[in-house]
């Protein structure tokens, strides 16, 4: 009994090891792809940190005159500009600053009295620049802490080491809506790339390689319908499913984060308010279109080329993985992305969607992204049509 099971096992392994797809899935993907994705994510993180360090930030100071060493310390920092404010502004944007350092008035009196003093750095975690300002100002906060400690020690005639801890805190003043916008700008483009790619995969392969595998292809080719129209019909059907996947994806995100979270208070308090305005949803759907056309035509072309459903699904998985990697690269950019990134299909859509969600659309970016995607989609469509008319591809064994 066992020896027979062993025979079956050996046969299956021999069979599998002679299949290049198994070799790729078992050896190449774990050895190359996954470590590659990890490296890519590490690189994105390090580049983002580097970009943050290079940002120019503007910091509002309230009550800074009470700490004479503070302003020179801030001015010595690279990329930091200070502006004096009378009081803490109702929001950072109205004051035109990325962060506000607030030193309560009368510390010369309150410190010697031993009153509790709280110095705050107000910033927004939901804003890259503000978040970068917070990171840059961390050494300055140490300076504030040191000055306040010295002030206490002088007033009490005691050594600095005996000074009580002074509360110098940072406070994220992002509203839930701002947090939601920030999250949406990152998550939605990435999720939509997944959804659209996944939405196209099955039908594209089924409508092409499936025709070969089901032996329905010859029947189709013997009809008077031109090959171009056959491919066009298939690509249109795949585009429809891709758009449906994108639409359902947008609805699903909105429903989960807005409606469902609203119905469940426990969930609501934990979650961010992921808001997408109707106009943003409309423009995002528009940006999905060229990507959907590109992915559909590319997958239909690969489906025409593949000999079997299994082979077709393997190709589709590679396309899906490429979409995942391009989606990941979209996390790289903190500020305005360089123009050349808007020429890379899929990545350009994710970047454009982020601009839409953060209301920072650059018309030239939109034009280049949509134009490039449309051109590449047209090229893919031509390739798909040629492959569908090429008998050595259609009937290759």
């Amino acid at each position: 009994m066992r020896s027979r099971a062993w025979s079956v096992c050996r046969k299956e392994l021999r069979d599998a090891l002679r299949d290049s797809r198994t070799i790729i899935a078992v050896f190449v993907v774990p050895l190359v792809l996954y470590p590659g994705i990890m490296l890519l994510m590490g690189w994105i993180e390090s580049q983002n940190k580097k970009d943050e360090g290079a940002m120019q930030v503007r910091v509002g100071l309230v009550g800074e005159a009470q700490l004479p060493g503070l302003v020179p310390a801030l001015k010595s920092m690279e990329g930091v500009t200070t502006v004096s404010l009378d009081r803490v502004p109702p929001n950072l944007e109205s004051a035109g600053v990325d962060a506000v350092l607030s030193i309560p008035s009368g510390i010369a009196q309150s410190i010697p009295r031993g009153d509790s003093v709280k110095v705050e750095l107000l910033y927004k975690d939901a804003d890259h620049k503000s978040s970068a300002a917070e990171k840059k100002l961390r050494p300055a906060l140490d300076e504030v802490r040191r000055e306040l400690t010295v002030l206490w020690a002088r007033s009490h005639g005691a050594p600095v080491a005996q000074a009580p801890a002074v509360a110098v805190e940072t406070r994220d003043v992002s509203s839930k809506a701002e947090e939601g916008r920030f999250m949406a700008a990152f998550i939605i483009p990435y999720i939509l790339v997944f959804m659209v790619a996944a939405g196209t995969m099955h039908l594209a392969i089924d409508a092409t390689t499936g025709e070969k595998e089901r032996s329905t292809l010859e029947t189709l080719l013997a009809t008077p319908t031109p090959r171009r129209d056959l491919v066009l019909g298939k690509v249109l059907a795949v585009i429809a499913t891709a758009l449906a996947a994108g639409l359902v994806g947008i609805f699903g995100l909105w429903f989960n984060f807005t409606v469902l979270a609203g119905l469940m208070p426990a969930l609501s308090s934990q979650s961010v308010q992921l808001t997408i305005r109707p106009d943003q949803a409309f423009f995002i759907l528009l940006t999905i279109l060229p990507t959907a056309i590109f992915l559909s035509a590319a997958l239909v072309a690969l489906g025409c080329f593949a000999r079997s459903m299994r082979e077709g699904q393997t190709y589709a998985t590679y396309v899906y993985m490429a979409a995942v990697v391009l989606g990941l690269i979209s996390f790289r950019q903190l500020g305005a992305p360089p123009m050349e990134r808007f020429m890379i299909p899929i990545l350009n859509t994710a970047l454009l969607q982020r601009e839409i969600l953060t209301d920072t659309v650059v018309p030239m970016h939109a034009a280049v992204a949509l134009g490039t995607s449309a051109v590449v989609a047209a090229i893919m469509f031509v390739i798909a049509t040629r492959l569908f008319s090429n008998e050595s591809v259609l009937f290759r064994t």
């Binding site: 329905t216 080719l221 008077p224």
Partner: protein, 257 residues
């Protein structure tokens, strides 16, 4: 009318080089007649019929279907043919009616003419019981009848059948042959490939024995028998093909049975 003149097809294989699948095949078939291509698996029947159906492009030579050249105007040829291969499947997730409507649309028929034709064929092909059933739930016989119905839906004058009884039981095969004979009686030009001798004897007016992509013998069943000195069609076929093997062996070529 089908006129085939010196039709050739060569495939290129990276390891084996050029392979001649069909070499200088010529024949004609008139309306109201059935021309049979009799050959073993891999003899070149399917490649020949695929070229006639404009699914494959001839390497050289040509064929005229209803007077239209397959090389010059394949789209027009497709309007005039019905093509059925024995291993052709249907779309399992469509109903019979949806499938016929789809192929009617691909043939350029109007919705009204599709509906009218389906109503007509529903009676003659006895499809009423399963026309609105999904193809995946149909029996093999039902599927074959539906396939035949699809082939004649746009009423083509030329019909190309490539081993249409392949995989069918005796009853199913008889039904297919009955329908083919019925179409012949209606004046259609029919080309029918098979490797089953009894089928060829029963329905073909003229037969070509094909091997290694070339036609070795051609004529009516009776004339082929006479030229072989009597015997059955199977005897004629075996002796004709054997002759090729013997000649190859005499030339010292490797045996390729």
């Amino acid at each position: 009318m089908i006129e085939v003149l010196n039709l050739c097809k060569t495939f290129h294989d990276r390891k084996k080089g050029d392979i001649a699948a069909v070499s200088n095949v010529s024949f004609t078939c008139s309306p109201g007649r059935v021309f049979g291509l009799l050959g073993r698996n891999g003899a070149g029947k399917t490649t020949t019929l695929r070229m006639l159906a404009t699914i494959l492009y001839p390497t050289s030579g040509t064929a005229r279907i209803d007077g239209i050249d397959v090389n010059e105007n394949p789209g027009e040829v497709r309007k005039r043919i019905g093509y059925l291969s024995g291993d052709t499947k249907l779309y399992d997730r469509l109903t019979g009616r949806e499938l016929l409507t789809y192929f009617g649309e691909l043939a350029g028929m109007s919705p009204a003419s599709i509906a009218g034709r389906i109503a007509e064929l529903q009676v003659s092909f006895q499809l009423a019981d399963f026309l609105d059933k999904r193809v995946g739930r149909m029996s093999t016989g039902m599927k074959q009848r539906l396939s035949l119905c699809r082939v004649v839906l746009h009423d083509p004058p030329v019909l190309i059948f490539d081993e249409p009884t392949s995989g069918l039981d005796v009853m199913g095969a008889r039904e297919v042959l009955r329908i083919v004979l019925d179409l012949k009686s209606k004046g259609r030009t029919i080309i029918f490939s098979t490797h089953i001798m009894t089928e060829a004897e029963r329905i073909c007016d003229e037969i070509a024995i094909i091997e290694r992509g070339s036609i070795l013998a051609k004529g009516s069943v009776d004339s082929l028998r006479q030229s072989n000195g009597g015997g059955s069609l199977e005897d004629v076929f075996v002796s004709t093909v054997d002759k090729v093997f013997r000649e190859e062996a005499a030339r010292g070529e490797p045996v390729r049975p």
